[in-house]
Symmetry: D3
């Protein structure tokens, strides 16, 4: 948000990351090329244009980056996060001092391209499962420092979010089960410590474990690397008594079949950790 103008919550929640990103680009003295060549009073205008088809995310970070470089730079958005673009679609116009536009360009685009890449990868998974009851969700396999922004990008791509971290839901994995001495014991223990707002999910690797988890009344059950046949059997046995999440190396070639089994949730690490950027360029002119 440009200072002195309306903002969203981005200042309080991610400004420190924007500033960190700018500082790693500005170094000690800022843009020595631009400051040495472009007059301080030169005005510029620039248009962010998609160079490939995809889904946009990161517009606030994009605009806020320029405002941090120079609060006189104004960004006009032509669409909102979550919008689909084609190659050539105009995304935003940026006007103000040319120096600031050139200086902020790379950092602003690094956010926009990365986050739009996440939204685009998510969208493909969502589209591939359209018409099923399955929801595409993310994981904690995010890029360090970028979790809140990447999880927003997943929503912009049509997905939903899994846990934000280790503190906002209980997710019991194999090591926890082993320590506690079995599924029933671990769920009893978890129930005792969980507040009334906390849901409990448990990871199982066989139909036998699934049955135990259902008996012990887990809220959500993660089917770890289940085959399609196992997944179908799990859906049948569960019969709505818990939410079922399929997880484990599911990609664009397999996601439709998994969704067709009737699971409720399909989680994917790749949509955050391995998404290719969406190519967006900035066409800059002197004003």
């Amino acid at each position: 948000m440009p200072r002195g103008k309306a903002c969203t919550m981005i200042d309080l929640l991610v400004d420190d990351l924007l500033v960190r990103a700018l500082r790693e680009d500005l170094g000690r003295t800022g843009d020595i090329t631009t400051d040495g060549i472009v007059p301080a009073d030169a005005a510029g205008r620039a248009r962010a244009v998609a160079r490939a088809a995809g889904v946009i995310s990161g517009l606030e970070a994009f605009a806020r980056t320029f405002a941090l470089v120079d609060p006189r730079i104004a960004t006009t958005l032509h669409l909102a996060d979550g919008a689909r673009v084609e190659r050539g679609t105009a995304i935003a116009d940026v006007t103000g001092p040319l120096r600031g536009i050139l200086t902020g360009e790379r950092t602003a685009l690094n956010f926009l391209c990365h986050l739009s890449g996440v939204a685009t990868a998510t969208r493909r998974m969502v589209d591939l499962t359209a018409g099923t009851g399955a929801t595409i969700i993310d994981t904690r396999k995010t890029t360090p420092g970028m979790r809140a922004l990447e999880k927003a990008a997943v929503r912009h791509g049509g997905g939903m979010n899994h846990r934000f971290g280790l503190d906002d839901a209980i997710l019991i994995k194999d090591n926890h089960i082993a320590v506690a001495g079995g599924i029933r014991a671990v769920l009893t223990r978890a129930r005792a410590v969980a507040g009334h707002l906390v849901k409990i999910e448990i990871e199982v690797d066989s139909l036998e474990q699934l049955d135990e988890a259902l008996d012990a009344r887990a809220d959500i059950i993660l089917l770890d690397n289940f085959s399609l046949d196992q997944t179908r059997a799990a859906v049948e046995r569960t019969a709505g008594r818990a939410l079922l999440e399929s997880s484990g190396g599911i990609d664009e070639t397999t996601v439709a079949a998994v969704a067709a089994t009737g699971v409720d949730l399909i989680s994917s690490g790749a949509i955050t950790h391995s998404a290719r950027v969406l190519d967006v360029g900035l066409d800059i002119d002197e004003a």
Copy 2:
């Protein structure tokens, strides 16, 4: 670096990013699953194992993350950043309180997998150009907040680094040339403001511009989206008077041919902004 033990510079330069990453995972109360289920005095041991072939980077961040979670956790490295691994190669052992190992696991792996992905992508480009005189270099198209670590990963993959930011070299682009009124004028201006330690690079988009840049004695010339024929002509005309950098959408299918033209440098944004993670898992046992 575990507190109280020897460290490298990682504390001063990237600890704030590690802490930010841990905080986004720990949230307000830390790992409620593990703290509710695993006894405080349980000991654990874990082994980080490659689940695919690639090149490792990020070992310091990996070890440091566990040490920040609990300084009693010790990490023993079985290889160094830059090492090639196969599926199944043991990378590091982690021992100490089981709670801390489980709590730090995801954040530590997020660093290691992402950075090893960058090193691996770089290594493929480097291997494809082996035997030529071309050096693979990175760009400023890095993940926000991760630049120093990603640029180290590029070196671990056998590449070299381009500018770290806007302040440590002059790189003149089309907008700068337009503002200054041509290549000769912009180079004269740049020379006047550059300190004795600063090198000057200029981007050209034709052989005519190349000639101008050579006449004006640029140190390095970036050939923007040149065809292979144009690149070969550029190498011939330049005859060693400046370093030549090929840039613009070069990927694993084209990099060998570009290198064969005789250019000095080939830059790639994709090795940092679109590298897939290298899959590394952590096999954890109670000690």
Copy 3:
């Protein structure tokens, strides 16, 4: 946690508050009285002793404060957070350089007395409702900066935690209902945006609203300033279909009667925002 020793998560999650508290006491030059009078090599020992009956909370902050002042100071705990103490009970021993003990005394006690006050106030409410099915929970009416520590103190006092903040559960209040156009509408809207891990609570101020909320399948229903009769009626109508939370000015004189109605949860702001400190003193000697 003393540096170089085992720690809990307190370093990562609340060290910045401990440091802020120390800095506001140390000012620019630290303890000028002690530094001017006590020799640098004088050793001291101190014992923290309860001067009233209550429940202890804040031992980690207490010990960590001294360690931040001087890592050579060792703190030995004689009991754990949550322990009941009588007037005269020894809580912890602190040994090390006398200067550091005198310098850290006030800040360490400010944490311990405040948090033990919260635990003690909670414990009284919990004891008054013993034998009922009601759980005492806190609110977001906490002292600015101290939320995580105060919520831990509530747990040490035998209570459970409500929301940690605005992001970890949906709690629909009268303004939200008005904006959305009624209870059914607001719950439908909330369900659409809530992730699969998020529970939904709604505040009602009449039995009619309660019925609507039950029909729309809220997870938890907050009975805002209900009389005892209304509360009993609410419990009866609900019949376990949702959790019921009583809220609104409930204090030590009324809590038992509220609990006896059969509600599941009773929330109290006073246990965090208006708890008197538990008086704890530090008896210090030269060693």
Copy 4:
């Protein structure tokens, strides 16, 4: 202070605490209830109203909190810090985007209610000693992180401030006296290290120690847990040669009698560490 508008010093001195308080409420994603239900363009107006009689403090923090959430929110104050209010008195109006008002409400009130509680508790002590020469002062027993704000609240309640910390005055306690070998020795030592701007106070626990302290020309003498008779004797012996401070468990039932003895200063920890909040509510409407 709303950005872009006039501010007091609050930005530089306490903004980090306001931001910390907001962050602990906003968590990772902010107010999910409000953002999911209230349209982004809905306008709101709210009035802060006292729900009990007392003295107001914390208006700057109250207004600044909303401005940090959304700089478009304007706060109009109907009275100033230090004003007395009755149940029902309008304190301030808040107008702007409804989302931001709902999101900032709790944090803004947490500051206002806590600090007004401190001012109110102070005022009661001040009123009880009206007509005497005694001044009510605070201690260093403040809530961690809140010292500057609580000390301002004490002034708003009609009291004065004791030391802000360990560095801005010398206050010699029993341990210091013991180390130095007596009152005369400790005061000589203190005088030697004190700058020309620093006053020296010493704590005594008997009339004999008082005499020694007077002979050694302490600026201020703290009478630690003196009875009323002892205090009267102390005032008589001192005869204006030093300021006398009564300290130790003085509360609303005893403060008038202590003040009547003729002491200059009466310090109270309870006005900061154990004050009940002043109940203030925010009545919110759509605009």
Copy 5:
């Protein structure tokens, strides 16, 4: 930069130092003298006037400091960084609330006087070498925390900058040569690790070492404590094959003679670490 107005990069790069400087002056409660005596609504105007001849640097920090104290304070600059002033020259006018002007005065002047002192000292060295080919450059002997601002002041004084730090150029000293086993070996090693943008400088202490360094093709050679005769010989032998830097205790009495030898660069630590302040006063009136 006043918030809400145009800024340069100073916010992102040095605001934390300005804030630190203000905080060390404001302490816990700000300017108690001014706040106690000057009405909040009093307006003031002030003029910064040179009290000695010199060169100005630090105007951005000067103006920004007042804006941080109170964004309503406006600063009008009568000249730019790098301008020469005489005793009595008006530098800037400051208008706004009188309280803020009085409060910010000392900190703003501390920046302006210190940095103008550096610029003035540099200018004297530059003037003394006018007409030669030598450029005056700084060193890393800067005041902790002030490097970026002091290096800007050197440029304002007509000098150029040497390395900004340990990471932006290779400068090989005697210890490095010894470890590597000689000049040729160390330069070979340095060349292997240096990126294509990094220049390599080496320090030599004899003409023999100079010859070796020239043979091994160093970019820049630092002549450490060479006599004038040695320096002349070095210039002759080098014949333009590398840049030559004279270093070591060169001051205003010797710099002209050194410059006359024909060296390219003369570095001085004293211009940053031992420059006397330029006296600038602030004449303040009520408006």
Copy 6:
């Protein structure tokens, strides 16, 4: 303080400045010369040696800087802050990894040389006034960011400290007097707002003003640019009723005469803002 070892308060109070200083030297990648040339396992030893006579200050910052670079580096001090040294005096030995010693050298020396320069300049003033009753004190004209360290250096040089900032004493200047309407009025106003621990100083520029200030019972009176005759008259008239401080351009040529007048305090800005560094070098060897 090396982590894991005993520390003074330096960690809490000035570590952020040490880290800032190191970061401005280390930049993004640290010491590329040393890391490229010196083996990671090379050990080194270094001795800090005075290269001129003076007084030492800054030893803690010196040692702590190395410890921050690499906690394995140990610093042994041969003398204490405040010690006088001659050219050639050994000050401290530094042993540990050679890389860290070379990397930390410049930053550690920048602190030590600057602060020892301040101590040395102070000492000269103190020695010139030996045998008089005058105390040399500093001002608020300090280097931004360095105030606490520079004020400690003044003490190490035998001086005492004036105000640390705007909040710890009242110092009334001409603008305050004008606003309040005269000396009597301003002192009455100041007395009303000052706490019982705060001393009041007032600046006067004539003997008439001095008389007014004495009548109004100021604690300390600053004689602004008084001549020697005026100063003597001021001492006579005051006759011990207040402390007198001489201020205004007093330097080494005039300080003895000023002291001989009988004033209590002589303040000097030059000892902090214009002190030349004390030259200290680090002789480094491989171990």
